[in-house]
Amino acid sequence: MAALLEVSGLKAFYGQTQSLYDVAFDIPMGGITTLLGANGAGKTTTLRAICNMVRTDGTIRFDGKNIRGMATEEIVRQRIAHVPEGRGTFTTLTVDENLRIAAYTRKDKQAVKDELERVFVYFPRLKERIQQQAGTLSGGEQQMLAIARALMLKPRLMLLDEPSFGLAPLIVLEIFRILRRINEEEKVSILLVEQNAALALDLATHAYVLETGKVVMSGPSDVVKNDENVRKSYLGY
């Protein structure tokens, strides 16, 4: 399978502090890849580095083109959608506006309408809340809104930062089911960062394990799942 995103020699810095050291990984076209790691391992930083939200060095190729150093908004326009940590809801805007903002550069109004309907197929609950202020949604609904908004960008690659964070287990399962459908039906490749390693490894086809800013292990998720260290450190049995 061809790689959609190729990352190599990736370093990231917060001020003078380096938090990624030569991270390298590939994301196969059409697959779901997960980044595992403890708190502070550099998972979120890796996602932020892809979208140039931290200072970086190295190469990040998307579809063969080096995107490192491009402005965040231009990277997004290459159809990389980033669902940030904490969901990034526009709390004072309505659900409708939260979704439409992702399509604001598009001229074709009918296409945007169709797009909205398509997104509501995955998230019927958002349709019921369409005129509600986004800040009044529940946590699970806000997470759905964030994913729906990313979907409005017609992404080829979706970066998800802890979509399970702070949500009830049932909601998490629902969201993960939707992610699988999005991956299969929309042909969106996914890079998933998750604390809940068991869940992430079930969903993903490939996994990378980060420790203190370095990739320490990688492989198909079945293999990673059965690795003894991973089992002990991240799966807890």
């Binding site: 965040t72 908004e73 940030p84 526009f90 805007l93 506006e97």
Partner: protein, 301 residues
Amino acid sequence: MEQFLQQIASGLANGAIYACVALALVMIYVSTDHINFAQGEMAMFSTYISWQLMSWGMSFWVAFALTVIISFAMGVLIERLILRPLHNAPVLSIIVVFIGLLAIFNSMAGAFWSYLIKEFPSPFPKSDFGIAGVIGPHQLGVVLITLIVLGLLFVFFRYTPLGLAMRAAAQNPQSARLVGVRVDWMLALGWGLAASVGAVAGIMVAHIVYLEPNMMGGILLYAFASALVGGISNPAGAVAGGFIVGILENMVAYAGNQLEKATGIYIIGNGEKLTVALIIVIFVLTVKPAGLFGRVVVKRV
């Protein structure tokens, strides 16, 4: 009674001006968290530009439209050239820049057009306009123009994709970037719009206060007060605040005059309008720190 209505009417006209300038302040505040102290001087400078255009033979409304466009460009340029490099600068540096801009515009206007007071025309016909005895034609015109400008801005922000992008960029810049909004340009556009709205206010008020480099000084204070009363992060509140402050200051002076007539004791009059307005502002902020229509911002720590 008629005098009372007159006072309300002139309060509305003043309030319309305060509302415009307050809105300009709020537009920049919501996207940058800074109060642009130079907003008034920028408006004054714009007013001089329109005066210059008119003295070159343009009609009032042509000069008006052209000035609004020029002011827009001026606002965009100030953001791109002067404030852009200061994006990560400490608040105090930015405040110093604002004060610097204030002084620069003030002295430029003085240098180009002198400090002599100039008369400024009113575009509104003298007769058959306004409600005889209560509100003059210019005052009524000011209120109408302001309402049109506010209406246009409302439609722009509420119903156009670009307006939505600007609101999103102001509310959550990082998320806005993540949906492809060019946040830096949205800021520059915000500056442009604020400068344009300020220009409208300047052109409208110049007929009343006359044109001179310091004409906006007091008005900026009132506008700041209006924005605070309405809630500094709430555009609709700022507009309401403008009208409230405008009417309030006239009511206070009116009440003072009536009192003096009735009892012969002078307590308060036209001279104390600004003082009283500011006292009221302080009172509002003490009782309701977020302003009348503002929301209390809760920070998670």
